[in-house]
Subunit: 177 residues, 2 copies
């Protein structure tokens, strides 16, 4: 509601400033997105679940991560990651190699097949999103992407570490952060 139109019994909390409303909208809309994302992922590319896709994408972006890194980045339990990784390996999409320096850790790499699957799916997603974002001004796209990155980059969110390990910088869409 536009702060001006509070005629019905909606908000008990007074909704102080527009920023508060914005914050709520952000939460709400992000959640809507999340829910729909999973649904559409299933239809769009049954070959790769949204989780798998995401993990693969992460590995493409920053090859040679450890399972723990993924867990931290996505706020997942290590057991979950372990299982996902096992599945991806069984499917031949990634490889696990033990770190010669520390036999506890296993470094993850995309296989060629994994890269291909990922690219196929990325391509499908890209066209879908392209269509969806077709009438957005490029400026808005860049800014939107920047906001999302900025939002997620918030240090308190993922007890990461993450940003200081090997690999080139994150896939930044502009200089926004």
């Amino acid at each position: 509601m536009t702060a001006a139109e509070t005629p019905d019994e909606t908000t008990a909390v007074p909704d102080g400033c527009p920023a508060d409303t914005a914050v709520e909208t952000i939460q709400r809309e992000m959640t809507v997105f999340a829910r729909r994302a999973r649904a559409s992922a299933g239809r769009m590319h049954p070959e790769l679940s949204l989780v798998s896709y995401t993990l693969l994408g992460h590995l493409e972006e920053r090859d040679g991560r450890r399972a723990t890194d993924l867990a931290a980045h996505y706020a997942l339990d290590k057991s979950t990651v372990s299982r996902q990784v096992s599945a991806l390996e069984r499917a031949g999409l990634i490889e696990r190699r033990v770190d010669p320096d520390d036999h506890r850790v296993q470094v993850l790499h995309l296989t060629e097949s994994g890269r291909q699957a990922l690219d196929r799916v990325t391509e499908r997603r890209r066209t879908a999103f392209r269509e969806r974002l077709a009438d957005w001004a490029e400026e808005d796209l860049l800014r939107f992407a920047g906001y999302l990155e900025r939002y997620n980059a918030w240090p308190g969110a993922a007890p990461d570490g993450e940003r200081d390990r090997a690999a080139p910088g994150p896939r930044t869409v502009d200089g926004t952060h």
Copy 2:
């Protein structure tokens, strides 16, 4: 990657324009958000799962929706909604009333207790998000919220109908759409 730095073997697809990169970033970051959201919801307010919270929020915003509306809006199966709704009703947070005009449909309403629970949680979330978004300029918040709304409002996403039923307009943060 900033389109300028494609030195490693990452993208097979040439990544034509910056808009493409932005689109991918949007997908990726939205997904990261989604994953973390559920995790943090559990910690932040165990009393209300993210799903429940979302559905309650939807009902607060637009009271008297039908289960089908929720399903459409969130791209959920009607069975899923049915179960969620049952749970919420069991918990005494919402009420189902049969529409006198059509005995098939049941109209959903927040109970007082539901409204309170929702407000409690909203408050917690709001402070958390506030902290997180503390150093954002208000202008950016508004624009971010506007982008998200615009994104989700895309007609192809939810085969909604939704926007033309009773209830006052959606909670719009600015005039953006």
